[in-house]
Symmetry: C2
Subunit: 251 residues, 2 copies
DNA sequence: TGCCATTTGTCCGTATGTATC
DNA sequence: AGATACATACGGACAAATGGC
């Protein structure tokens, strides 16, 4: 076996158990590193490795010069049907929803955007970037792309707080639906992490979707990075019942 | 600034660039740690921190006593509609699909399973655990639960390689569909990581679903952990068109 | 089988930089 | 400015897994 103390994994598990049990409640501050070293009979290197692992799991948040805190993990269950809107989704869970525009531009469509929107490469599209919040906590970072010739004043209307659904309607698009939704996970990059209040390396869920009109023609494409430890997605394929599945059940 | 060498982040980025550029191709072995220290003028601690970060991003795979290798990242696009089967999904992408039974048991339903299946707590259910492979590489680790009184010989039939769809049909269930699918991400735990050939801390996508018959009654519940860096899910909400969205595009 | 070189994993001690209060 | 707390870095020792001889 080992000639020295315990492994960093043992320390990680002991602290993790404290958090899971609730003895260390969300947002509470952990003792300082020297103190933790005494409490768990660990040397600083090993203790820090344990803390780093817990941080990567999203259970802790380490703040330089301030201390180490237990992460609170509010959970947004984002229900995706054929027509889904951000606000309603969150409001129905008793959460406050808000958004913030990060950038707006008209840009020529690159090959990917052009193909997804059924436009020629180089056609002007609105590219709008927004950040979404639930209960003042950032949860998503999104980009949307719309044909600028079809929705000339889209950016202006969005800035005024008018929803995408209403803008569609004002263009005679009474009914639209999602063509498909693609979802995968990857580590947050250095741009996303601070905006989502994640540490680099924590996971985001990338959700890409295409809205189509009744004729099946694409009218908008969007993709968003969601804070992986604060959200789950539910895809409804039939009228909603009252079942529920729960996050963080061990599988 | 710093009194000593470069930061571990600089080393991480330099090696990461080598991988991204293809100069270090997938599955190739990196030089040993002492060699890398010389190449990048880093000390062992800092170098190892850089490697650990790249490993967490899924770009490298470090094998104790053997060496460090560039990770290959085959991508499975798993399309989920109302009726979806594992094999067809992979075969349509030119991948070979296979599965392996890990465990089979009849157990009393706990509160969650009972609620999801619409059974009383304690009712006997088949609990079957399987591992799925694409091109011989493990990609999923799943558990399924079915009412044992309704499908008495389910485990036996599954062992013989008979699909769930066929078993349903033999019980007069000609048509069934997913009620809902819930998906979220979390780090792989220590049980899952080796079975999915992931390192602890890399992300899995958890997919939970309930199958219902035409009357809307639940007939089966399953949940699976998918290797997060090897799979994406696409939810079709309308008849399939020929659009595509691509993984690993920077958002 | 066993020995041994190679390679990665863990741990310890220490010094100094940097952010916060 | 000083105290506290986290971040980075260096050096050294030994453990454990692998693979060749």
């Amino acid at each position: 076996m080992r000639s020295q103390g315990q492994t960093w994994e043992a320390t990680r598990d002991r602290i993790g158990a404290e958090i899971a049990s609730g003895r260390l409640p969300p947002d509470s501050r952990l003792p300082s590193e020297p103190e933790l070293c005494r409490l768990y009979d660990a040397r600083r290197h090993s203790l820090r490795r344990a803390l780093a692992a817990l941080e990567a799991e999203g259970k802790l948040r380490v703040e330089h010069g301030r201390g180490t805190f237990v992460e609170r993990a509010p959970l947004v269950n984002y229900v995706i049907g054929q027509r889904t809107r951000f606000r309603e989704n969150l409001l129905s869970q008793g959460l406050t929803a808000s958004g913030q525009s990060l950038s707006e531009a008209q840009i020529p469509a690159d090959a990917r955007i052009a193909r997804l929107l059924g436009l020629p490469v180089g056609a002007l599209v609105h590219a709008i970037s927004r950040r979404g919040f639930a209960n003042e906590l950032p949860i998503s970072l999104g980009w949307s792309y719309h044909d600028a010739s079809r929705f000339p004043e889209l950016a202006e209307l969005r800035r005024q707080g008018i929803s995408v659904t209403e803008i569609y309607r004002s263009h005679g698009i009474e009914d639209y639906q999602r063509l498909r939704t693609t979802i995968f996970t990857r580590p947050a990059n250095e741009r996303e992490a601070p905006l989502l209040m994640l540490r680099p390396g924590q996971s985001v869920l990338i959700v890409q979707k295409v809205d189509v009109d009744k004729a099946g023609r694409p009218i908008g494409f969007s993709e968003a990075a969601w804070a992986g430890d604060r959200v789950q997605f539910t895809f409804e394929t039939t009228p909603p019942y009252s079942f529920a599945t729960e996050k963080h059940d061990d599988v």
